[in-house]
Amino acid sequence: MIDFFQMILSGIAVGSSYALMGLGMVLIYKASEVPNFVQGEMALLPVFIAYMLLSSYGLPYYVAFPLTLIFALFLGCFLEFAVLRRAKEPNILGLIIITIGMEMLLLGFVSWKFGADQRAMPFPISTYDSIIIGDIYISTIDMLTLVVALIIMLILFLFFRYSKIGVAMKATQQNETAAALMGIKTHRVRMITWGISSLVGCVAGLLLSAVLTEPYMMWDPMLKGFAGAVVGGMTSLPGAVFGAYIVGVVEHLFGGYVSIEFKSVVAFAIIVLVLCIKPSGLFARHYVKKV
């Protein structure tokens, strides 16, 4: 029984990092209608910049991390402005290929600049402490990830409901022409959406890098985040988070009780099953196409 709770707790802990990636992907999907393959690498570059600032330049944490987050914001905006916007009459597959191209470019750039060795990211909280409740462990990093994920969700919720830019973003997603007619600068709004998504991804990346930093570390979380976002519904932010938690918990339960090797496989099988029942994900509104 204890094991069961431990697995659920660990699943929620790992689901939080997936949830952050999923949030980023859903934000961009709602804005640009493209599943974003560069989500991982948009986070990777700022993380390595943070590593450089912390280890080579010796900046303190409270200077380096905010600088990194600002860099991530600008990186996201830059990618949208310089690359995605320049696509003429894009279709979805073309945009996907552009994101894949950006992903390779950023990954190659990071590997080129920093070399391929694994590194340890200096982090204010030790990765190896844990909080013990009875017989159940949750490491401090996981606790932090969980708390940060919840805080970010809350911030995004308030942002979208109450701030001007947030409302503008919602308007642009619902109907771009009408938003433009109402005086919203849709291009700028889209750019800011990318920036925010990159920021969220960067937070996820920093938390993930606390354990181990290497150029290829973002692939797996991005994939699981994508899967989670799909289960929850690509057009719904709380759905993405919920889906990510489901993926995390299912993986851990299956890995603990049945077979560790196949845990990813089962996660995807569950996703396909859920999608067969609800084709647009759990929380999204299923838009019925008209002829």
Binding site: Y29, P35, F37, V83, R86, A87, K88, E89, P90, N91, I92, L93, G94, L95, I96, I97, I98, I100, G101, M102, E103, M104, L105, L106, L107, G108, F109, S111, W112, K113, F114, G115, A116, L223, F226, A227, V230, M234, E261, F262, S264, V265, F268, A269, I271, V272, L275, C276, P279, S280, G281, K289, K290, V291
Partner: protein
């Protein structure tokens, strides 16, 4: 662009004498190529041909039927493992094992097509992605498939012809590729192809017109899986050794990229895309040997970047080419070709 005056003109394989001429030049060139070029270039040509086969199939699914698949590496793996296992365990001759493996892959394609009936866009992408990952995991567990250690391809003999050099494989591959390309083109021009196109453009309208969505969507998956299976079976022999790790998500993404960059919705498009990207994949490592650019890149690496990671320039260049092609021509390489043709056809207006 070209006006068709009757059904026969739409369906015929060669629309004019000019096309016949250039095609025969191409065929003669392809036939002479392995005898004049170095063995290494024949290997590159083999690799490109296999990618062409798979991407033509993928294009039937993505370009003509409007679905998306991130799991084609799974069908590729089924074809590769199927061919080898049928040849070693069931003692099938190669010319029988290959189509049977393709049909097995087509069967799995049909199974994958069933959930596809309700899904689209990123949802379908994740479902197919899951399939691709599942296949490699399951293959990695089966002892008959060599588990994780992989399988060696057996010796290949067709009748009395013993194939073991790249040139032999080339002479086997190119006719198969040409055959499959012609086959794909014929599919596209018939009722089945028109059904695919109608599903892509407006599937609800198609259904009301009497196009059986279930049949044609699963058929699209099955046919593209067949192509991928054949490609996989041939790949096993070109590479001589396969293991589950080869058929990764990255391979599926590469196939999709080749299809889109080449140009969806045509037969020449995937050929161009697969040739270009497969060639880049194998040849970009030579980028540092290009006379001036190579030295400049090395100097740049030494001063600002790490020289140890200098080979990562391959990734950067590859990504850059992808972005450039898609930014300037969303229809891919085939789109560039069509634009050029249109420009010169209507010149000087």
């Amino acid at each position: 662009m070209d006006m068709k005056r009757n059904y026969y003109e739409d369906v015929q394989l060669f629309t004019s004498g000019v096309i016949v001429f250039w095609l025969s030049v191409l065929v003669i060139g392809l036939a002479i190529f392995p005898f004049v070029a170095k063995n290494y270039y024949v290997y590159v040509a083999n690799y490109m041909a296999i990618n062409v086969i798979v991407v033509i199939g993928l294009n039937l699914l993505v370009g003509y039927t409007g679905q998306i698949s991130l799991g084609h590496a799974g069908f590729f793996a089924i074809g590769a493992y199927g061919t080898i296992v049928l040849m070693t365990k069931a003692h099938f001759p190669f010319l029988l094992a290959l189509p049977v493996a393709g049909l097995i892959a087509a069967g799995f394609g049909f199974l994958l097509g069933l959930p596809a009936l309700r899904l689209e866009g990123p949802y379908l992408a994740i479902a197919t992605l899951g399939f691709g990952i599942t296949t490699t995991q399951i293959i990695g567990k089966i002892k008959a498939f060599g588990e994780r250690q992989g399988l060696h391809a057996p010796e290949l003999t067709i009748g009395t012809w013993h194939l073991n050099t790249d040139r032999d494989f080339y002479l086997l591959l190119i006719p198969i590729t040409l055959l499959l390309a012609v086959f794909a083109r014929n599919i596209v021009k018939t009722k089945v192809g028109r059904a695919f196109i109608s599903i892509r453009d407006a599937d609800i309208a198609a259904e009301t017109m009497g196009v059986n969505l279930t049949l044609y969507k699963t058929l699209a998956f099955a046919v593209s899986a067949f192509y991928a299976g054949i490609g996989g079976g041939l790949y096993a022999f070109v590479l001589r050794f396969i293991e589950p790790e080869l058929f990764s998500l990255f391979m599926s993404v590469m196939f999709l990229t080749m299809a889109v960059v080449g140009g969806l919705g045509s037969i020449l498009g995937p050929i161009a895309g697969a040739c270009l990207l497969a060639w880049l994949d194998l040849q970009l490592r030579n980028i540092l040997s290009i006379p001036y650019i190579g030295e400049w890149l090395e100097a740049l690496s030494k001063s600002y970047f790490s020289i140890t990671g200098v080979s990562n320039i391959q990734l950067i260049v590859f990504g850059f080419i992808l972005i450039m092609i898609m930014l300037f021509e969303p229809l891919g390489i085939y789109g560039i070709w069509i634009r050029t043709k249109k420009y010169w056809k209507t010149w000087p207006f």
